[in-house]
Amino acid sequence: MLQKLRENKSLQGTLLISPTLLWMIALLIIPLILTVIVSFGRRDADGNVIYTFTFNNYLRLAGYNTTTPCGDTPPPCFDSLYMQILWRSLTLALQTTVLVILLAYPLAYFVARSPAKWRNSLIFLILVPLWTNFVIRVYAWIMILRTQGVLNGMLGWVLGLLHIPFAPLEMLYTPGAVLVGMVYEFLPFMILPIYTSLEKIEPSLYEAAADLGANARRTFMRVTLPLSMPGVVAGTILVFIPVMGTFIVSDILGGRQVILVGNLIQRQFLDARDPAFGSASSIILMVLTLIVTIFYTRKFGFGEEIAVV
């Protein structure tokens, strides 16, 4: 029997993958199927799911209400509330990603071009904040940004020295605070992939470029940047997707006034007790992120730059 195992490569592969498959099917695929089934259901008066087959939830997301009124108008009616939320999430995710790239690239470049013995330590310095608690990090920003917080305190002190009158800035509980929080949370996830792809660039390429007469700027634009694109892409995926789905940062730093898709989904399962609508929202979110991921990986390739350190 063992001999058969030795010869049959396909069987070997299947055996190796079986624990993974078991876990994925049991804990991921089945719940996902359940979610899809529920998304076509309805809500009873108490918030339980009635298993039927209706597109109402999806229509409602798209803006076409068949069961709930839109203001004064009774159903069926149009109302773009959820599309607006989706748009807001997309915009925030894009803003976050762009800012994160701008901040991450110089750092990644610096570390990648540093002497080898320093690189590991520099990388670990980037990872350490990630190992503190996520919620605590967000909470720290409250201490920095609030009216009597660290930032206002420092600004007041500096301006006081210069004898300039100073009214504390209202930074906390604004969309800006949410953006800062998001950028902060996801910065390391962009630094590492970019670093990995930059680190792979052969030093001889730089020398070759110099030999051919390219200055620093040209080298960067024509050699470094294109070769680091897979890292940027991988980082974008690692940042964009969680930003779309998160709700804690927008809750805490936005004073619960910034409603993103993640908040919407969370509300459906908890406060609104409408699991059918929540499931539909989740499926749409997943489909969106899948589209983004597939588009990117088709264009730029995927995988290696996620392997960090």
Binding site: G13, L16, F110, V128, T132, G245, M286, T289, A307
Partner: protein
């Protein structure tokens, strides 16, 4: 190696590191705040036998925190070990073999990356409760012997979302793997198991360790999925901290963060020292 380090680059780098660590610094400083309401830093606390470390002493007397810390570490270690093993196996399978389930497996491994955590959390919760209800009925378990949510269910869930990341990382490591080393070993008489153990594994070890590190990080910080799959007595630190935010946040929370960060830094420092001694 370029030694042309433009001052702008250095400045930018320092600013970004500063940005990364500013909240950490604030957290640690406020752990010594004498003001209980912890809004403004009113000076260094000096109370009781612990003096400036007053809030740390309060922290260590807090049974809930210590229990949560114990749970968090147990879950993280267990799920990391299991998912590392399973993930490495999967990476080997996907990178080197062809089998019918391959396309399906590749797609399945994408899911935890794309799925919103709350969907996964609630989905798993429903799955466990349905299964437990059925099994309890079938096996006639009652009272304390009933299957229910607890540390076990949390660990199972953590393994689920860790496996894809481990697989990804190890696969990347296998990508450029030169098979001739393995073939040489086999030519010299080693069987598959020995080859794997003494040739393949050491080479992919950095990848496996990276994956393990990633899995550990993910598990340590997980909130949403843990919330839905945990039961009595299996509270973890992230859940406990999130609950703490529900009241006047005394510097005790800061003390907790400081201890956490300090521990991590010490562990990192030690592992760096060990690594540099080996090379």
């Amino acid at each position: 190696m370029s030694n042309r380090r433009s001052p702008w680059l250095v400045l930018a780098t320092l600013l970004v590191y500063g940005f990364l660590y500013a909240p950490i610094a604030v957290l640690m400083i406020y752990a010594f705040n004498s003001s209980r309401t912890n809004v403004v830093f009113e000076g260094i606390v000096n109370q009781g036998p612990c003096g400036p470390f007053y809030w740390f002493c309060v922290l260590f007397k807090n049974r809930e925190v210590l229990n949560a810390a114990k749970n968090t570490l147990t879950i993280a270690f267990t799920s990391t070990v299991v998912s590392s093993i399973i993930g490495t196996m999967a990476a080997l399978a996907l990178q080197r073999y062809r089998f019918p389930a391959k396309p399906f497996s590749e797609a399945a491994l994408y899911i935890p990356i794309v799925i919103p955590e709350i969907v996964m959390g609630i989905g798993i919760l429903v799955l466990f409760s349905t299964t437990f209800t059925w099994l309890n009925g079938l096996l006639g378990l009652t009272g304390d012997r009933r299957l229910s949510l607890g540390l076990g269910t949390v660990i199972l869930s953590h393994i689920a979302f860790s496996i894809p990341f481990v697989t990804l990382v190890v696969r990347a490591r296998l990508h450029g793997f030169d098979k001739s080393v393995e073939e040489a070993a086999m030519d010299l008489g080693a069987n598959e198991v020995t080859t794997f153990w003494r040739v393949t594994l050491p080479i992919i070890a950095p990848g496996v360790l990276s994956g393990a590190l990633l899995a550990f990080t993910l598990s340590l910080d997980d909130f949403i999925i843990t919330f839905f799959t945990s039961g009595p007595g299996s509270t973890t630190l992230p859940i406990y901290v999130y609950g703490l935010l529900r009241r006047i946040i005394t510097p005790e929370v800061n003390a907790l963060s400081t201890v956490w960060i300090g521990t991590v830094l010490i562990v990192v420092f030690i592992s760096q020292r060990l690594e540099s001694r080996e090379t």
